[in-house]
């Protein structure tokens, strides 16, 4: 374990250096005397050539005014017909819904906190995440994007989430070539999937590491700078500073408590296949970070009374649920409860407690695409994988109910108190997934994915969680897709068979796809 961690750390750290070395311009040797002489003669001719250049420029301008050639003012696309609404931002809407059947009533990954996005979707017919995106060039220097997510979770009002609200520099901003700055709230560069909207994923649900470590995706408030290096091979380095208020961080005090760094390398193999690899670090602090069940009142501002009331409601609600389950399952449920306790309460701390401490996530990703005929639209194989290592330790605080009675014989004198119990634990964990998707007909694709997490040592669980998924999807046009997916989720030895049927349709403007 330590060896693997050491290797990954070295690989992630070493990658930017490797890229810088390989992608930098070749440096020339100090000139020899002959070369110097030649250079001087070149310089002698310089002024003559400059005059010639000016003459040529003049001639070219004259020729241009004669020819049909025209250069357009920056930022204006003449190929678009001018209409009254041509300055409106591009509007895109993604409609997404699913129906699912699960063999297990409850789902949670023992030893991990799960937020709303990391949880298993609601069973039955459910609207997933609809999205509205407005985007446009602001002027010749900036591009702006606003994405609103409409989340629907059973029994709760529709949740309006600001997924992205960012500005980004355009190549006309006057920055050096290859440099970009993005500021605001965005799906930041981390691994392969994080910067993409979930509706473009190849599977209905995000793979386990994204659910457990990032609650679906990291979209904090912040600023990111990236630089594409000049070179025949694609190389990009970058990093950002963030507020530190989104999972895996929470409760930022200074408002700049997280940072990231990344490096990517990519290229082609022959005409019809391409690859990309990357290494990433995301580091920050968390204060009272907790999963979805405890997240409602908790945005890191300590423990107000309101929150305690809320927590109590939650607990009461959970108790109702437990009673209900016992009605249905009888003894089975009791056995299960006991079993969990036998594994130690630390797993409960890790999944249900409020975490305060340092969190760092390392990641590496790879992606390989191969279109046998060169046309990804006809047939294509995509292999993709990501590996994460979470380095996280701190205090996990769990509130436990505790009954105190002034007269032990009289239940009416009893009062329920909530005690804060804090354990100092390590949430270190590794997670990875690998997937293959094959388009065998222009409108049909099949795919398989295996994802696995290592439970934190302190959780002391017998089995590591894993998920095996297979899917088939039908894409009528690039704007509409219907997908059927089967998952076998095995969390601490309990298997959950899941069947999901989903549609993802988009109307309006449709952003270009990245690799």
């Amino acid at each position: 374990m330590q060896k693997i961690i050491g290797f990954v750390r070295a690989a992630v750290m070493g990658l930017p250096v490797l890229i810088l070395a390989s992608a930098a311009y070749p440096q020339s040797d100090p000139p020899t005397t002959e070369e110097l002489a030649a250079q001087i003669s070149v310089l002698k001719q310089d002024y003559e050539r400059r005059i010639a250049m000016l003459e040529a420029q003049l001639a070219s301008l004259e020729a241009e005014s004669r020819s049909t050639d025209r250069t357009d003012p920056p930022g204006v696309r003449t190929s678009m017909p001018a209409r009254d609404n041509s300055f409106n931002p591009a509007i895109g809407v993604v409609l997404d819904a699913m129906v699912s059947e699960y063999s297990e009533e409850q789902s949670g990954i023992p030893g991990f906190q799960l937020g709303h996005e990391g949880e298993r979707p609601d069973e039955g017919l459910t609207l997933g995440h609809s999205e509205i995106t407005l985007s446009s060039n602001i002027d010749d220097k900036f591009f702006g994007n606003l994405t609103l997510g409409l989340g629907v979770h059973a029994g709760e009002p529709v949740e309006l989430e600001l997924e992205e609200a960012y500005i980004q520099t355009l190549p006309g901003a006057g920055l050096p070539d290859g440099l970009r700055v993005k500021a605001g709230r965005a799906l930041w560069t981390f691994g392969y999937l994080n910067e993409l909207h979930a509706h473009s994923d190849d599977f209905t649900d995000r793979p386990l590491p994204y659910r457990a470590y990032l609650d679906g995706a990291y979209n904090d408030d912040g600023l990111e700078v990236s630089l594409v290096l000049p070179g025949e091979l694609y190389g990009e380095i970058g990093g950002g500073i963030f507020r530190g208020d989104d999972t895996p961080f929470r409760g930022s005090r200074s408002g700049r408590e997280a940072w990231s760094a990344f490096a990517r390398l990519g290229g082609d193999i022959g005409h019809n296949s391409a690859w990309r690899i990357g290494g990433y670090i995301l580091d920050g602090e968390a204060r009272n970070r907790s999963g979805a069940a405890h997240a409602h009142g908790d945005d890191g501002h300590g423990h107000g009374e309101e929150e305690h009331e809320h927590e109590e409601e939650e607990h009461a609600h959970e108790e109702d649920e437990h009673e209900h389950e016992e009605d249905e399952h009888g003894h089975e449920e009791h056995e299960h409860e006991e079993e969990e306790h036998a594994h130690g309460d630390f797993a409960e701390f890790l999944s249900d407690g409020a975490f305060t401490g340092d969190s760092r996530l390392y990641g590496i990703d790879f992606r390989y695409t191969w279109a046998p005929t060169g046309n990804a639209r006809d047939r294509e194989l995509i292999l993709q994988g990501e590996y994460f290592w979470r380095d996280e330790s701190g205090d996990y605080m769990l509130q436990e109910e505790h009954e105190e009675c002034t007269d032990p014989s009289d239940p009416s004198t009893c009062e329920v108190h909530l005690d804060d119990i804090t354990e100092s634990l390590s949430g270190d964990s590794e997670g990875w997934y690998a997937q293959a998707v094959y388009k065998f007909l222009p409108q049909w694709r099949i795919g398989a994915r295996y994802a696995r997490l290592s439970s934190p040592d302190d959780a002391d669980l017998d089995d590591d969680p894993y998920t095996l998924s297979t899917m088939v999807d039908w894409t009528n046009s690039e704007f509409g897709r219907i997908r059927l997916q089967y998952n076998r989720e095995s969390f601490n030895g309990e298997d959950d068979d899941q069947i999901m049927l989903q549609y993802i349709m988009s109307i309006g403007a449709h952003g270009a796809h990245s690799f």
Binding site: I40, R49, Q57, P74, G75, T78, Y234, A274, G374, A376
Partner: protein
């Protein structure tokens, strides 16, 4: 001692006039399609390094914004594409990620062919139910050789602006190309006279410029909705049309699926011809001249069939 001063002088002047060294670098051109790469090679010769983002058997509508292409844009001095939204699925990503200023819209290194020629088939109604349509009209402008001549002028001008020190070389190559192209076009024009009025069925609406120039008549398209594979009911209509219209040939591009056109051939015995569509789309279509030569030869062969 003298050598030392010389070195100092060269270093100082070199720092003051870095252009003199840079000017000898070849101009890097990223062409979105092979036809523009071929044209860039005609005009740029040894003074340019040309890379084509797609090859002759690829459909330029649907290319992945591959990392290698981001690297190409990052280094490019000219990006030369068809425009009219043909590359809308991938070029904007490359331009933004590569973030090379000189190739951005409005800059001299940005050439979209459709901005410089008359674009056909501008839709009056724009709706996604009509498929993956191009609001700016049909982008496949290269299949009318007169458009190639126009773009040759545009490219030579831009090269001269970006790399003025070699503008004479670009003008010489342009003059040579235009005279050879005019001769070739005169020959092709004669050959198209025999083909005029010949009725064709196309797979995708990718051919209006060729049909317009050569006088061929399109009966219908196998794809009813652009970019969406033909449906059975539409194919039945096409079958009726094919039988009753006196259609001579079914035309398809190398990257288009074969099933629909082969099915129609099976039902009607109307021959299917795979035209090169672009440079590299046929083993013999290795430059712009042979692209049109091979295209006309293939059409003449079906015309000559009884």
């Amino acid at each position: 001692m003298k050598a030392w001063y010389t070195t100092l002088l060269v270093v100082t002047l070199g720092a003051l006039f870095p252009l003199s060294a840079v000017a000898q670098e070849p101009v890097r051109i990223l062409a979105c399609e092979p036809e523009w790469a071929a044209l860039a090679e005609e005009i740029g010769g040894d003074d340019v390094i040309v890379h084509s983002a797609t090859h002759g058997r690829q459909d330029a509508h649907h290319i992945r914004a591959r990392p290698s292409l981001i690297a190409k844009v990052r280094l490019a001095d000219i990006v030369f594409c068809s425009g009219a939204e043909l590359e809308v699925g991938w070029l904007p990503v490359l331009m933004q990620r590569g973030a090379r200023r000189i190739v951005q819209p409005g800059q001299p290194g940005h050439i979209m062919a459709a901005d410089h020629v008359e674009v056909m088939e501008r839709p009056e109604v724009i709706d996604r139910s009509l498929g993956d349509i191009h609001p700016s009209g049909n982008p496949h402008v290269h299949l009318d050789p007169r458009n190639i001549a126009t773009l040759a002028d545009v490219l030579a001008n831009r090269l001269a602006r970006i790399d003025p020190s070699r503008s004479d070389a670009y003008r010489e190559r342009l003059a040579s190309f235009q005279s050879r192209w005019a001769d070739a076009m005169a020959g092709w024009q004669k050959r198209t006279e025999r083909l005029r009025g010949m009725k064709v069925i196309v797979h995708h609406k990718a051919w209006p410029y060729l049909l317009h120039w050569s006088g061929l008549k399109r009966v219908t398209a196998l794809e009813r909705v652009s970019g969406i594979p033909p449906t059975a009911s539409h194919l039945a209509e096409v079958f009726e049309l094919a039988r009753n219209s006196g259609t001579k040939v079914i035309i398809r591009a190398p990257f288009e699926p074969v099933d629909a056109s082969d099915w129609l051939f099976g039902k009607t015995a109307i021959p299917v011809v795979e035209l090169p569509f672009t440079v590299g789309g046929h083993p013999e279509a290795q430059d712009l001249f042979s692209l049109f030569d091979v295209t006309l030869t293939l059409l003449e062969e079906v015309q000559d069939r009884p």
